[in-house]
Every structure is written in C-alpha cells, then in structure tokens.
Amino acid sequence: MIVADAENCAGIQGYIAYAKCSGAGAAEILQQGPEAFEHQLGLEVLASGRPDNVMLVMGLHPDYLNSFWKMQGLLLRVDGPLPCPWRHYIAIMASARHQCSYLISFHMTEFLQVGGDPEWLLGIHRVPQKLRNLNEINKLLAHRPWLVTKEHIEALLTTGEHSWSLAELIQAVVLLTHYHSLASFVFGCGILPEGDPEGNPALQVPLPSSGQSSPPNGDPLGSSGGFDAVREVEALMERMKILQECQLQEEAASQEEMESRFELEKSESLLVAPTSDILELTPSPDVLCFVEDPTFGYEDFTRRGTQTPPTFRAQDYTWEDHGYSLIQRLYPEGGQLLDEKFQVVYTLTYNTIAMHSGVDTSMLRRAIWNYIHCVFGIRYDDYDYGEVNQLLERSLKVYIKTVACYPEKTTKRMYSHFWRHFRHSEKVHVNLLLLEARMQAALLYALRAITRYMT
C-alpha cells in the first residue's frame, strides 16, 4: 500500500525506482511514512510547481530537504550580487565539469526563463569575458580544490574591465561548489530526468547506469546476496561496538601511528579508484561546449613520486570559525543557511542501521565524513583514521571515492554493491553526507585562498 502511495507521488526514477520494481525493500522507501513525505513535498516543493526528481529523492530526508531547498532558493532566486541568468549559467558551467546533463538541461531551461541570452547556450565562448574568467577556478574546484591559491583569487579580483567583486565571487564560488556536489548527488543516486508531463519519452542522458547494467529485476539488491548481506550488517555492528569499547579502554595509538594511519588511508584511497573496465565516457558535444580543458580531472591527492601539496589541517581553518566568518561578512544570508545545512546533515540520524534501530550511528557518519575529507586531503588531528578502515568496507569506499571525485563514472552496480542490506533511504543518506562533505571541503579550500588574498 505504501508502495502504491509512493508510485502515486510521481515517478521516482533512478536506482530507487529499480528497487521498487524488484519488490525488495520497497516498503522502506518512504520510511518516514507517506504523510511526512507528502507533507514536506507539499510545502516546499509542490509550491514551486512540479517537483523534480532530485527533490523527490531528497524528500526521503525531509529535514535536510528543507534546508537544502532554502539554500538553493537563496542561491538562484533571492536578491544577491549576481544577476539571475548569470547564476543559472554558473550552475551550467559547474554541472558541465561533471557532464551532468540532468542539471545542465534543467538550468538551460531556467536560464532562458529568467531572460538569459540564448546565444550564451551555444557555448562558453559566447559569454562575457568576466564569466569566462571563472573557468579556471571552476575546473580546480571541481577536480582538485587543493590547488586553488590566492593567486587565482587575485587574478579574478584585480581591477580591470572584467574583474569580479568580492561579494560576487563568493556567491559564484558557493554556486560552483554547490553544483559540483549536487552533480555528485545526481550521479550517486542515479537520478534521471523527469519525463515530459505529456508523456513524451524522457531525454536520454549518457548515464552509465541506464544503459549497460543488468536488468532491474535481477538486481542483487534483495535476492542474491541476502544472507551475506545480513552477515555484513552484523559484522559492522560488531566492529562499531568494539571500537567504542576500545575508546573507553584508552588504548591510545602513538602519534606516529596516527599520522601513518592517515597517510595510509590517503594512499589507499588511490587503490579504491574505480576499476578501469568502465569505458571512458565521451561527453556529448552539447555538454562539452560549456567546458574548457575537458581532460582535466581528479588526480589523486597523493601520487607516489610527485611532490604532494601539504595536508590541509582541519583545525587550522574550520568551517565553524573561519569559513563561516568570512562568508558571513560578504554574503550574510548565505553563511547562515550554509551553516544550518552543514549542521543538519552532520547531525541527521534516525538511529537505525539496516534492520536495527536504536543504534548510535555518529561514529559511522563521522567515518564517512572524514573519509570524504581525507580523499580531498583534509586531515583531522583528533581523528583516528584506523576507524575508517574498520567501519567502511571496500565497496563503500569505492563508491564514496567515485561519487566524490569522478561522479560521472558511477555505475548502478557500485550503488547496489555496497551495504547490500541497507535501506535506500540510508544509501541516500550516505549521498547527502557525500554532497555536503564534498561541498565543505571545496569551500574550505576556496575560502582559505580568499582569506589569504585578503590578508
């Protein structure tokens, strides 16, 4: 019955829709209960017209959707330093870095609706120089945020015909990081474009999951690995318990040990790169036209043999103290909403793990969050990276790394392979953590560069 409700809501597409077909775990899709779902969507999303699929999937976590929606509204619609068409165009530029045609086509429509020049949609070479100057920082933030330096900021801000103001730049940076990470979410959850209301077939996007993978019914999700999966969950619970006890026992590892654990985790993240059997996607030309230097991509933070950039110490530049203060100064509403959003996602929990409830998941969530930051080279002094190894299984690490760093390579197989016995809402939860942790990491790098420029 709940399933029927869910289907009435609108066609949720993507992996979650597959799960519905397979019949397994479908009851949990709307674990919040249909009223909550409907309620939330009704208030926030339906008010704005037809809900898109991103909203529908996020609607699994209404608290989060609420603050996400506010932030996105602020970025795109509320008065701000940048004109509206520019905002949508920046969104297009950011999504194009990850070849996320879902977001691109969505914002192309919006761009035209707010009165953007259709000429611009022909490609990046048609837009004003000022907007084009954003390319470099867009590229870096999308793939290797640690390379952003104060010189990049300086180049954008130095007075001249095409210079940016600090307030404009902050909004642009928030927009860019927002859309890079939203692209991660879109790929991570395998969200497909909504079908035309008239029933025309949906636009086909070069989404890897849609084409090549096994038919939805034969999904390993419910049937095949059922028993193993249950065992995995139990094992995870067990490990969490042990870790918690360990902590109480004060069996502290030496500092050197901790240091090396972080390095290990960092270098190990090299190995969890997605296997090369995935065919390299050739992005379609209508995406390429918004991209400069399309071959630039994520490169592992630590490459053996090359000079590694210094590790970013989380304590030296935190969001709460420094990042917030800076944004608050230049883009006050933005700072407030971002702060709220990070807080909501960091504290979001239903105290459930798969079929267990009443579990303190903070350890697991922190492991995921810190692992994502680790992949971007941010280290927490007060975190034992050994925990990551204990808590995150390899398939999950592969998934996280892929979605965070090269989301366009995500496949449905990866999605279904990790946490096989977990609910979809929990997997979406992981994706939310991914989205926010990634955004915060990139923002921290960008804001640090801006701070350095200002001092």
Binding site: S325, D382, T451, T455
Partner: protein, 788 residues
C-alpha cells in the same frame, strides 16, 4: 622605534619597563600565556612551543619545548596556559585531544610531565585554578569538560555540556568552586566543580558559537563573552537571571576577550578572521574602541596582559608569526580620528546638533539668531580619575526648533493626500491639482499645474474658446494661477522690461513667467530672442542665484500667504490692460512696482493682464503647431528646479501625471532619486497609502519592485495557534477552516479582520460591533483585542 614611548610602572617593588617591540617566531602562534612574574611568555602553535624572556629591549628565546626528532601531534597546541601560582607549571591543549602538562623544573631536556588522553576530539581550552595548585580544567570539541588533579593520572570529574563543542572554560576568580564554559551553540553554562552531574545555570549568550569568556578580575559577578556574531557582551551574574549589562559591537567575530587590569570597564579583544587589530574597549562606550593596536599583519590569535596589575603592557601572538609587546602610550586612538559631531534633521524641520561641550560653550556667548529657538542640553559624564582615555566624555546637544506656525509641514501632508495622480484625463488631473495647490495657498505650484495643462493638452480637448470662457467667468481656479503669468507676459512683450526683471529679486516666480514669456516672444520677436532664451535664462539666473532664490521663496511663503488670495475685483481692470501690449512702456512701470514690495495691491492690478495673456498663449500656440515635445526641455528644467528647491513632491507628482510625455527627458537615476526621497518623506509622515500609490504608479523599475519585497503575510491558525504554512485557509494541522468568524461562526468570505495577538477574528462588521461593547476577544480566549 625611537619615537615610541618607554614606560616604567612601579608595582609593589616589581618594576615593569619596556617599549613596543616584537620578535619573529618560526611559525604561526595559536596561543600565548604569561608567567606570574611578567618576565616570561610562552608561545604555542601547531609548529611552535617556546618560552621567551621579556627583556627591556627585546624578546629573548629561553627555551624550546618542542624536542625530539619527530614532532608528535601532542605538541600541536591549540591552547597554552601558565600556572599563576607555580612558575614551573604549564599546560597545553593539543589538537588531537590530548592535554599535556609541563614541568620546567625537570632536569632533562624534555619537560613533558603528564599526558591526559581522555578527550576524543580537539581540546580547545585549558585553564588552571587561580588559587589551587593542582587543579586543571579542559574543554573539548567533544562537548565534555574535564577536571584533572595533577597528582593523579586520570581526570577527577567529567562535565557533560550536553551539546556540541566547548569553546572556552574559565575558573571564576573569586568563587572558588565556580567555572564558566562557553559552547558552539551560543550557550554559556556555569558549573560547580563539586557537582559534575548538572550545570548550575545556563543561558544563551550569543547567536552562533561563543568563542571566549573572561571573568572580571575585580567585580565578581561580571563575565565578558565574545562570539561569532561579532559581539562582546558583559553579563552580570549576581542576579538570578544573567543580565546583559554592556554590549560592544565589533566588526569581526571575537576570538579572545581579556579584561584590562586596574580598569574596571576596559577589555581587550581580537578577532578570528579578516581583522588583524587588537582593540581595547571601554564597555560603556561601545561604538568606538578606546585604543587600538595595529601592528599585526595577520589575525591575532592570543592576547594577554603582561602583569595582573599593570594596565599598560599587552602581549600578543599572531598567525603572522610574530610576538608583540604593545605599550599603551603607542596605541592609536580611533577617537581622535572620529568625528565627534552629530547632526540630524527632524521631520518637522527641527534640527538637532550634538558636539563636544567645549565647542558649543565656546560660541555660546554669540548672539543667537532671531527666531533661533535653541535649547542646549548638556550631557556630562562624571569623570573617572582612573580612566586614561576619558578626555571626551561630555557633549552638548542643541535642538533648533522651527517656529511652530511658520513652516509646519501641513501643506505637504495635505497636498499628498489630495493630489490626484491618475485615473482621469491629464487636463482634469492638472486642474484638480492646481486647485488643491491654490487652496493651500501655494500659488506658484498651482500655476505650474495650469501651465502644464496648457502645454500638454491638445487643442482638441481644450479649445481656446473654452479657456476664454472659463476666464471670462472668473472660475475659481484659473485666473488666480495666472497672476504670475501676467507679469511674464508683460515683460515678455517689452524686451526691456523683461531684462529688468531677470535682475530683480523675485527669481522664483520668474522661471515660470519666463517660460511663458518665451512662448510669446517666439511668435512675436523671433529674431531677437529666439529659442535660446530659455536656456540662457535658466543658466544665468536660476542656477547662479539659487540660494538667494531659495531664501526669497521662503520668506514669501511666510509673509505673503494671505495676500496671494486674489480678490475677484481684479477683473474690472481687464479692459485697461488688454490694451497694454501695444504700449510696453506703460506696462513696465506696472510690472516693476509690484516686485519691489511684493504686495497685495499690485498683484491684484496685474491679474487681468494675465488672463489676457493666457488667451494669447493658447492662440499663438495652436496657430504655430508646435511639436508636442517642444516644451519638454522646459518642463524638465522646471522639475529639476522644484527638486532642487526641496519640493520633491511636485517633481514626482508632475512626473507621474505627465507619465510618458516627460519620462524620457529625465534620466532614470534622477527619477529614482526623486521617487525614493518622496516615498521616504511620505513614509515618515505615515502616509502609507499614498506612498504605496506612488510606488505603484512609478515607472522606475527600481521603485516598482519596492512593493514586491516581503509580500508574505504570516497568519496563525485560530484553532491551534500555530503558523499556517499552507496556502488557503485550511490549517493542515487541525484540518479545519481557520477563517471562521468568531462572532457568527460562519466562514468569512471577503474582508477578514483578525487580531494578531490571539489569531481570532471574523467579519469586519461583526468584530467592529463586538468590540464596541466588549474589550475581550469574541472567541472567549480572554485576549484583550484592539481594533484601531
């Protein structure tokens, strides 16, 4: 450096001397702390942990506590504190959550004493008990505070703040058992060290994280807190509820706050981001720091007063890798650069002026202007002998009132209310507005409206016959308004007369007159005066003599108000003047005389000429078939004139009434400026409806969007009293219709009035009737509703 002062203070046998000086550290500092004897300072950071001796001329490195080949994370300090009882004892908080104590008395190179690894997250703050030798307190990111006894290996007690991240902990200086803790969520908690189960008090101090707090060294109840919301607040903790007694607004988030020794109201702050300066505030004067140190090139991370009883030496460490000693003599005092005068113009023409008392008293013996109603009010603050920077603490406030009858703004309000701006034909609007202006005795304005009608209304709609007719009849409005025209006409006919005029005093009237004059001269003496006359006139006279003109006008307004009302007897004279155009000389005499004295009789005598001239204008106009925008330059200048004169009301009203006809002539920015000024005035007079109408009628994009901001009306459901988040009138919580009338219990369709206090309401008529007899809410909720 030579310029810098050298200060010596005697403190009970212990003499502090020194100057402003600094030394380079190898790495950014996170925190500093000073030894009890004020001769040594410890600097701690991620990559630095050193002790410096403070000598007279320089800092000298005494000890590097970072020993060992591979620096461990235990050395990466977030905070450091030097025991105030034992000069060998130090404690640091490490970013990895370890609390370390150091004993300088150890013979070995490694002075590390004890290691507490109980916190799971970064430790933000450590604090020694001010009098107890072995008691150490720590606050950590994991939300716990722990109290250690240095004689034991583990913590004695753990305090759970039940929330995220402890940012600061401070033992109370006087209350042996009390300490304060500040939190990331904006709360401050007070704990009793003996009761780890529950805090004694909690209150929300800031919006966002509270980064720091400091107990007042003398006054036991005062606690200063600084937060991310850029505020420094001083709380009086003596009362049951923590009471905010002072609040200082800084320009950046406040990272550290330290009371200044020996100065009851002073405290030093530094900020976490962007701003590198150290400020010393007098909390009673929260708008301007009393002293400022600007030496650092990157954010200041640690500040500490060098000696417990010396207010003149401040030490600071910074991310720019320097350690500074600041001397108060070298501090910059923003107050010296600040402008101590304030000026404000009141709604009804009053003027308030505040300045240093010395300035005002100096010229108080000057003879006051006649009509100057000055009421000097003096504020004097008692001088506190201990305050060093209290030189400018008394000021005087003078209020100049305008004479109550002379320039009341009543005309503005009346005009705003009665003007018609849209909804009728242009001619009607002009006539209406002219009439309004005339009734308010603003003849010049009235005349302008009439002129506009003549200029812009095509001959078809306003045939000259009609015009004639109305004049002949002596209709209430027209002849009067034209009284000035008359002069114009007259002067226009004879060029000599006109020249004389432009030099005369009565400039303000001339403008209009001249415009009409040119109309005529265009026709009659084109060769001599031509089309450049208006420009010439405007440049030469109006702009040159603006001030004079303004004054004149002002006077006129007061003195001659009654005289402008022209008696109708003027008409008999008409015949006589009709002849005048042929004899300019004769007219000249007449024209001159009124302006010398500006008195009733003369104006009266002129009126007929005017009416005549009107006719002639209309005739000449239509005969020559001027293009419709022929006058737009003239009208534009007229609008500018009014706006510059301060009558922005006229400018905006004409702008709206004429609409497209004139809009293109004036650039958007000027229009926007006029609109905003007018709207601002209207709103200050609480003419909300009119201001809304103006906003709606304006064609400026920036103005029309004023009405598009915050268009949401928040309503509560009358059943459950909670906000209605739904569209429509069905509350989604109690699923009932929220718009039933509390009197007749039917659903209200149409006008619905409700009380913002209790959310009940109903049909406008019903509620009105109900509240006539009762003061309480008709729903019986007991709320005393008001209808105003």
């Amino acid at each position: 450096m030579e310029k810098m002062a050298r200060v010596t203070t005697a403190l009970g046998g212990n003499t502090l001397t020194g100057r402003t000086m600094y030394c380079h550290l190898d790495a950014p500092a996170n925190a500093i702390s000073v030894c009890r004897d004020a001769a040594q300072v410890v600097v701690a950071g991620r990559n630095i942990f050193k002790i410096y001796a403070i000598e007279e001329e320089q800092f000298v490195e005494k000890l590097n506590l970072r020993v060992g080949r591979k620096p461990s994370l235990n050395f990466s300090c977030a905070d450091v504190v030097w025991h105030q009882m034992d000069e060998n004892l130090l404690a640091t908080a490490a970013t990895n959550g370890v609390v370390v104590t150091w004993n300088l008395g150890k013979p070995s190179r490694n002075k590390q004493d004890q290691l507490f690894t109980e916190h799971k997250r970064t430790v933000n703050k450590v604090c020694f008990h001010p009098t107890e030798a072995y008691m150490l307190l720590s606050g950590s990111q994991d939300g716990y505070m722990k109290c250690f006894d240095l004689r034991k290996k583990d913590s004695v007690s753990t305090f759970s703040g039940q929330s995220e991240s402890v940012r600061d902990v401070q033992f109370s200086i006087r209350d042996y058992f009390t300490f304060a803790a500040t939190f990331e969520n904006g709360n401050v908690q007070l704990w009793d060290i003996r009761r780890p189960d529950r805090y004694e008090r909690m209150f929300t101090a800031h919006n966002g994280p509270v980064f720091c707090c400091d107990w007042h060294p003398e006054d036991r109840g005062w606690l200063a807190t600084g937060g991310r919301d850029k505020m420094v607040k001083v709380w009086d903790m003596n009362t049951n509820r923590a009471k905010e007694i002072y609040c200082v607004q800084s320009i950046a988030s406040v990272a550290r706050v330290k009371w200044r020794p020996e100065c009851k109201h002073h405290l030093a702050t530094c900020s976490m981001m962007v701003d590198h300066n150290i400020y010393v505030w007098d909390v009673r004067r929260p708008y301007i720091p009393s002293a400022m140190f600007e030496e650092h090139r990157d954010v200041t991370t640690g500040i500490v007063w060098r000696h417990l009883h010396d207010p003149y030496f401040l030490l600071s460490g910074s991310k720019d890798s320097t350690l500074y000693q600041h001397i108060f003599k070298d501090a910059s005092q923003p107050i010296e650069r600040a402008n101590p005068e304030g000026l404000c113009y009141g709604l009804f023409g009053d003027l308030a002026f505040a300045a240093k008392e010395s300035l005002v008293t100096a010229d108080s013996n000057r003879k006051p202007y006649p009509g100057d109603r000055r009421h000097p009010i003096f504020f004097k603050r008692k001088l506190d002998p201990t305050e060093q920077f209290e030189s400018v603490s008394s000021s005087a406030l003078s209020v100049f009132e305008t004479e109550p009858d002379s320039s009341s703004m009543g005309w503005f309000v009346d005009t705003a209310r009665r003007y018609a701006l849209a909804g009728r034909s242009l001619a009607e609007l002009c006539d209406h507005n002219a009439k309004v202006a005339k009734e308010l005795s603003r003849n010049q304005v009235a005349q302008t409206w009439t002129m506009l009608r003549i200029i812009y209304c095509s001959p078809g709609t306003m045939p000259s016959a009609n015009l004639n007719h109305s004049i002949g009849k002596g209709s209430a409005s027209l002849p009067l308004m034209n009284s000035f025209n008359l002069k114009d006409m007259a002067s226009g006919m004879g060029s000599e007369a006109r020249l004389d005029w432009s030099k005369g005093e009565n400039r303000s009237e001339n403008i209009l007159l001249d415009s009409s004059a040119t109309l005529i001269t265009n026709d009659e003496n084109e060769e001599t005066e031509g089309s450049d006359v208006p420009a010439d006139y405007l440049l030469g006279d109006v702009e040159g003599d603006e001030d004079e003109l303004y004054l004149m006008d002002h006077e006129n307004a007061h003195t001659e108000e009654p005289e402008y009302v022209l008696p109708q007897e003027a008409f008999p004279l008409r015949h006589e003047i009709v002849d005048n155009p042929s004899g300019p000389d004769h007219l000249q005499d007449k024209a001159d005389s009124p302006h010398v004295s500006g008195n009733e009789a003369e104006t009266v005598s002129l009126t007929p000429v005017e009416s005549f001239s009107l006719i002639s204008i209309s005739h000449t106009l239509y005969e020559s078939r001027l293009p419709p925008d022929f006058f737009s330059a003239l009208v534009r200048d007229m609008l500018r004139f009014y706006a510059e004169q301060g009558d922005v009301q006229m400018a905006v009203s004409v702008l709206i009434v004429l609409g497209e006809r004139i809009r293109k002539e004036i650039d958007e920015q000027t229009q926007e400026h006029w609109y905003t000024s007018y709207i601002d005035l209207l709103q200050r007079f609480r003419l909300w409806n009119i201001s809304n109408q103006v906003i709606k009628l304006s064609t400026c994009r920036a103005i029309t969007c004023l009405n598009q901001a915050s268009t949401t009306l928040h309503v509560n459901c009358s059943n459950c009293k909670r906000p209605m988040s739904n569209k429509g009138w069905i509350c989604d919580r109690c699923r009932q219709c929220a718009s039933t009338c509390a009197v007749c219990h039917h659903v209200v369709k149409g006008l619905f009035v409700w009380c913002q206090g209790c959310s009940h309401g109903g049909h406008l008529q019903h509620i009105l009737k109900w509240l006539e007899s009762s003061t309480q809410c008709p729903a019986g909720c007991g709320h005393l509703c008001e209808y105003t």
